[in-house]
């Protein structure tokens, strides 16, 4: 703990300092801009000169001469972008600040802290300006801040889980939201009838409108809390999916009641129109999303010539779907979610690895910033004079929100449990009810209310803010201990295992097969059907074929896997070489696979096992899966070391005729044995492996093959040089690897090495070749994602020659 705590200690006090330094700046700026604006309006000519220090131009003359200013300050010119940048900067810095102290995010959700910062800022601005700080503009929220978050959520949505639970999610989202809206609205109307509270002027429709906007569970708030507590995936997708889908119903209800409030008379036809409206809003949004998703996928089919702008299309099309849906007053959230989910699979296959990484990072970054800004703005906007406090209304709103949510979940679950194969337990229901956090959506909706129609708008605002703060703060903070206390099944965060992946796939097929046998159209059946349709038409249309990228990638991964296995056989490189004492090397030795290797294998499995069943990891906003580049770099490093080890071992086995185990049940020996079953001798195995790994790579194969016949000749030429002294040989090795471990290995080598092996190997590994190779490796390590087979392959080639020629060389 001490070692961990030390580097943090100096950093922790930085947080308040940082914030303290930044707060006044922003506050003064915000205050200053208002003044600046005011002054610039009254005397626009001198505004630019104000406070600049340039001498004022001589006034009084009729025609003013303009002089060149040495230094000018034109704040109004840059005001808007400047302030936006500052806000984003502040938000990001605040985020950094919270994570400096590592325990804080685990106790208090980040959203709470951000709101607190917002409140503080709002207070300062309010104090400095003596009027309400700029309220978060609803347009800004709906058009700019919300889409990135939803896009991110949709793009990384665990699709399979989502569709498996689609019925339940839909049920909660539609019926649950209706239930909440109407329940809260009517019961609040009941409260308003009590004249002692002074609320009698609020009509039933206004109450219903209020109920509809307060009943929307907010995806932003839910994500912020749930992604940190790691409940089991099913529970997570239920709450999260509900919060995404209920947007459609919220938008409809909100618009419906708002227009009802403005209407004089309401006819029955209006109500039916409202119901029809719901379907149009929801389905229309989804259709727009799916359509643009396919267009996006289709576009990326042709971007391979201009890789640089590839990532842009993902963002443009999804944003386009959002604003198109908004334009028609359809559900933008549904549209962008559908769009992201549709394009995701195809885009991933079309774009290059780098573009894919860019998309991922950019999406995470945007959503993270948006989320931070939303919470800060919510805090800032809270402070101000637009409040009206009424104990009865506020506390009853809160009470009804909680009660109707709990009741709704309970009743709806009883109904849906009949249809679910795995019913939801009582604990699950409790967490679903408790996870119904309200957030920025209701906040923005309530600010959108026209004050002329709603004289008590301020009261509504206050009530909404209280509900949001209660849910985000009290429920957000207590949900983690509650989950622990109730012992809710968590998502298992154990080491990913290859066998698990295999089992899961196997499983899918078994289930689909059984469904086919009993002729039942279940989830699995539809998934399979869609997969076939997808393979037959969609993929052909949307994915560029004969793409060189994918073959190289898969090839590279293949190599990686092979290596991982070879490495695991020979003992991990992380072990000190001397401990894996080479003379005692046994084939049956087992080492656990390292996480990196595990990842590689998993990757191949997920990529290749029956394409459609692509399983996404459970969603997390702030972390990305380990980057492919890093992995590659690591792999290259490992590979380089490994090839060294390999050659060491080989020379060793040369000196020591060891019989190879022939038992097929010794699985560890098998990878080698079966690759070249006719040759069972140890030293031949290596050569067979060389052939194997290279046959997957066309160019490599040819080089190896070409080299082989020549090898004998080369060796014969080199034979006179056999008597080279060992010291020089050591220098050769150092050229390639500089690790101390390898140094140890080297030192071991000369003693065990028989002379002949030095003789014919040495010339093949000539100095210049090594130089270039290692340089290439280095550049690759610095982040180039290009698969770098050369070092290994050349190495293999030389090994191959060596191996092949050993028999002839032995007599010498």
């Amino acid at each position: 703990m001490g070692s961990r705590g030390d580097p943090r200690r100096p950093a922790t006090p930085l947080l308040p300092v940082l914030l303290a330094a930044l707060l006044p700046v922003l506050a003064v700026l915000a205050a200053g801009t208002a003044e600046a604006r005011a002054t610039s309006e009254t005397q626009p000519s001198s505004a630019s000169a104000m406070g600049t220090g340039t001498p004022p131009s001589p006034s009084g003359t009729a025609f003013e001469e303009t002089r060149l200013h040495v230094f000018t300050l034109d704040y109004p010119h840059v005001q808007i972008p400047f302030e936006i940048t500052l806000w984003i900067l502040l938000a990001s810095l605040a985020k950094i600040g919270f994570h400096l102290y590592h325990k804080l995010p685990s106790i208090v959700p980040e959203s709470c802290l951000l709101i607190l910062v917002g409140l503080l800022l709002g207070g300062i601005i309010f104090g400095a300006e003596e009027k309400s700080p700029p309220v978060m503009n609803s347009d800004v929220f709906f058009l700019y801040l919300l889409p990135p978050i939803v896009l991110d959520a949709g793009y990384f949505m665990p699709t399979r889980l989502f569709f498996e639970n689609f019925g339940t999610i839909f049920w909660y989202a539609v019926v649950g939201t209706l239930w909440n809206a109407i329940g809260i609205g009517i019961s609040l109307y009941g409260i308003c009838q009590i004249s002692a509270f002074g609320l009698t002027d609020i009509t039933l429709l206004q109450n219903l409108l209020f109920g509809s906007l307060i009943s929307a569970v907010d995806p932003v708030a839910v994500l912020a809390v749930f992604e940190n507590i790691h409940v089991n995936e099913q529970l997570y997708i239920l709450v999260f999916g509900e919060s995404l889908l209920n947007d459609a119903i919220t938008v409809v209800l909100y618009n419906l009641f708002k227009s009802f409030c403005q209407m004089r008379t309401i006819k029955v036809i209006d109500i039916f129109a409202g119901i029809a409206n719901f379907f149009i809003v929801g389905i229309g949004g989804v259709l727009i999303g799916i359509l643009l998703g396919f267009v996006a996928a289709f576009t990326t089919r042709f971007t391979h010539k201009i890789r640089v702008i590839e990532p842009l299309f993902v963002f443009l099309y999804s944003y386009l779907s959002y604003i198109t849906a908004e334009m028609f007053h359809l559900s933008g959230i549904m549209a962008i979610t559908a769009c992201a989910m549709t394009m995701n699979k195809y885009v991933e296959e079309n774009v290059s690895q780098k573009s894919y990484t860019t998309i991922k990072y950019f999406m995470k970054m945007l959503s993270s910033v948006s989320e931070t800004l939303i919470f800060i703005f919510m805090g800032v906007s809270t402070v101000g004079k637009n409040h009206e406090w009424n104990w009865a209304f506020v506390s009853f709103t809160l009470l009804f929100c909680l009660i109707w949510r709990a009741l709704g979940v309970f009743v709806l679950t009883q109904i849906i449990n009949v249809f679910r194969t795995i019913p939801l337990t009582f604990k699950d229901q409790f967490i679903i009810a408790y996870g119904g956090l309200r957030g920025a959506i209701c906040f923005s909706l309530v600010f959108l209310l026209p004050p002329t129609v709603f004289p008590r708008k301020k009261l509504f605002i206050t009530a909404v803010i209280v509900v949001i703060f209660f849910t985000v703060f009290i429920q957000g903070i207590t949900i983690r201990p509650l989950v622990e206390f109730l012992d809710v099944k968590r998502s298992n965060k154990k080491q990913p295992a290859v066998s698990e992946e295999i089992y899961n796939r196997f499983f899918d097929h078994v289930k689909t097969g059984i469904e086919d046998v009993c002729g039942h159209w279940g989830h699995n059946f539809w998934r399979d059907k869609f997969k076939k349709f997808d393979n037959k038409y969609l993929r052909r249309l949307l994915i560029r074929e004969n793409q060189p990228k994918s073959s190289i990638v898969s090839l590279y991964k293949k190599l990686e896997i092979k290596h991982a296995i070879e490495m695991a056989e020979s003992g991990m490189i992380s072990k000190v070489p001397s401990s894996v004492s080479l003379s005692e090397y046994h084939e049956g030795k087992i080492k656990p696979l390292s996480p990196t290797e595990m990842e590689n294998m998993r990757e191949i499995l997920t990529k290749n096992l029956y394409q459609i069943r692509h399983r996404t990891m459970s969603y997390n906003r702030h972390s990305l899966a380990a980057d492919a580049n890093e992995k590659q770099a690591k792999e290259i490093l490992i590979r380089r070391r490994h090839s060294l080890r390999e050659s060491l071992r080989k020379t060793n086995s040369l000196s020591r005729e060891r019989p190879a185990p022939v038992n097929t049940k010794r699985f560890l020996s098998l990878p080698k044995n079966t690759k070249l079953p006719e040759k069972l001798r140890v030293r031949n195995k290596t050569s067979s492996r060389v052939g194997d790994s290279s046959d997957s790579e066309m160019d490599a194969a040819t080089t190896v093959l070409n080299l082989r016949p020549r090898a004998g000749k080369i060796l014969r030429d080199q034979r006179p040089r056999q008597q080279r002294p060992p010291p020089e040989f050591q220098v050769e090795w150092k050229n390639e690897v500089d690790g101390s471990q390898d140094g140890q290995g080297e030192q071991q080598e000369p003693s065990t090495l028989p002379q002949p092996s030095i003789g014919f190997r040495q010339p093949l590994l000539t100095r210049p070749r090594f130089g270039t190779l290692s340089r290439e490796d280095l550049t690759a390590d610095h982040g180039s994602a290009r698969p770098v087979p050369p070092p290994r392959l050349v190495r293999q080639a030389s090994q191959g020659e060596r191996q092949r020629n050993k028999p002839e060389n032995e007599p010498y």
Binding site: T421, I422, P423, K489, N492, K494, A497, V498, S499, E500, I502, Y503, N504, F506, F507, H509, V510, K511, G513, I514, E515, D516, V517, C518, G519, H520, G522, H523, D528, S551, S554, K557, K558, I561, K562, A564, E584, H586, G588, K589, I590, K591, P592, L593, M601, L605, N608, L609, Y610, Q611, N663, K665, R666, F667, L668, L670, T674, K675, D692, S696
Partner: protein
């Protein structure tokens, strides 16, 4: 095609034994009739008539499982040539979802039964062990859907998985130790983290027999 109603008593017995409701049994029986072309037993060839199964990469394993006597009744081994409706139901009952009112012990048994079924699918030579060769066959079959992937990598994956299994089940092995294959106990160990009882099920509810059979 719902003409073939069983005798109620017989039906009840079947329901007791397999845990299906009588409605589900009726549905399954209709399907059975369809597959067997109104015969009393199903043979392997009958499964060829299911078009959807054709593309399943492990279809051979699935069909095989139906005729595996180990799955049909305890303490027996070998392959059956044909199965009757009761056997068919027995196989299907491996895919029943858990019920809410099950206690710990029942759950455990339920889980073991399901795993045993899977284990038998892997263990094709009936020796109680999943050897590397068997494992490889499974992975190769799984990957056979993708023509671009070579057998080599399937092998490597199987090898890696086997190694993993060995490290999970045996721990650090001595230098001379040989891991011969995954026994059922090891298999149980490896599945510990995966809640199979919530995953391995097919919905038999509201089953509609479809005319996808020719």
């Amino acid at each position: 095609m719902g003409s073939a109603h069983s005798v109620p008593a017989e039906m009840r017995e079947l329901a007791d034994r397999t845990g299906f409701t009588s409605e589900q049994i009726e549905h399954l029986h209709r399907r059975f009739k369809q597959l067997s072309r109104d015969q009393l037993t199903i043979r392997k060839e009958n499964f060829d008539s299911i078009p959807d199964l054709e593309f399943n990469p492990i279809r051979a394993k699935i069909v095989h499982a139906f005729f595996d006597k180990r799955n049909l009744r305890p303490e027996s081994d070998g392959l059956a040539d044909e199965i009757n409706f009761e056997d068919f139901l027995t196989i299907m009952s491996y895919f029943r979802p858990i019920e809410m009112n099950m206690d710990e012990e029942q759950l455990d048994r339920f889980r073991k039964e399901k795993l045993k079924f899977l284990f038998h699918m892997y263990d094709s030579d009936h020796d109680g062990k999943i050897t590397l060769q068997e494992y490889r066959n499974v992975v190769e079959e799984l990957l056979s859907g993708n023509p671009h992937l070579e057998k080599e990598s399937a092998r490597s994956i199987a090898d890696g998985a086997m190694m993993e299994a060995a490290s999970i089940c045996v721990g650090q092995m001595g230098p001379d130790q040989v891991y011969e294959g995954i026994t059922f106990e090891d298999f149980l160990k490896m599945w510990q983290g995966i809640d199979i009882e919530t995953k391995m099920h097919v919905r038999f509810l509201n089953m509609e027999t479809i005319a996808h059979c020719y």
